[in-house]
């Protein structure tokens, strides 16, 4: 499992790579929260393009970050989920809370940052 955290203006872009399950959840949670605190960022974009597998433990990390962002007045979006991951997101009900976009540029536009 890999995790890339990039600051794009006022947005934290979170790229999760590989299998997003119980073994990855604690590490992701700690790294993301630490980076967000250190950078003082409110808005979050989860790019799931490189996620090969997700279960409720991975979804819990996304939901937990959404709740924290909301508490801080921030917003969250998800982008680039493949059809299998999208099916899980829909079944979980997370898509009713967090907008899901097919591309990162569309998600960034939603979060108020255009491309380029």
């Amino acid at each position: 499992m890999g995790l890339n955290l990039k600051r794009l203006g006022n947005i934290m872009l979170i790229e999760v790579c590989g299998e997003f399950d119980l073994s990855a959840a604690d590490y992701c949670r700690q790294e993301i929260d630490q980076k967000i605190r250190a950078e003082g960022i409110k808005d979050i974009l989860f790019d799931l393009e490189k996620v090969a597998f997700i279960d409720s433990s991975g979804l819990g990390v996304i939901l937990g970050r959404y709740r924290k962002a909301k508490e801080n007045g921030g917003r969250m979006a998800i982008s680039n989920a493949n059809p299998r991951i999208t099916k899980i997101l829909e079944l979980s009900g997370i898509t009713r809370l967090i907008p899901v976009y097919p591309t990162t540029s569309q998600a960034l536009r939603f979060l108020g940052r255009g491309v380029g």
């Binding site: 399950d21 119980l22 073994s23 597998f53 279960d55 433990s57 819990g60 709740r67 979980s92």
Partner: protein, 146 residues
Amino acid sequence: MRLRNRMKLELLSLPGNVRLARIAVAAFASEVDYNVSDLEEIKVAVSEAVSNAITHGYQQKKDGVISLTATLFTDALEIVVQDHGKGIDDLEQAFEPNSSSDPERMGLGFVFMRSFMDKVDVVSEPGQGTTVKLRKKLPDKVQAET
């Protein structure tokens, strides 16, 4: 309903073993012609059952033992995940979505298992442990051949 094949694993309650469990069961299940979508669903269901055993059954303790048995019958795949941990006080509540009080968890483990498998049976005794039995029908053409 005749027996075709059986696999049995014993795993410590380590988070890294969730992946091992689902990959082992998916490899075992690929002996019959489940499609990719079916195999993905089986992987999610196994992942949820084993994750529950680790987080709820053994409360993240790393020395619990989880038994995983996968059996191919002529009409179905049956997966049994058993722990000897804390057990579940209220099974009815555990089956409800968002049943978890932890804001980092969605309480979706049993929802996913029920969505992706044809049958889910749970037997749990507080203080004794939990046994989850998951069943998924074999693809029609495989059943017809056997």
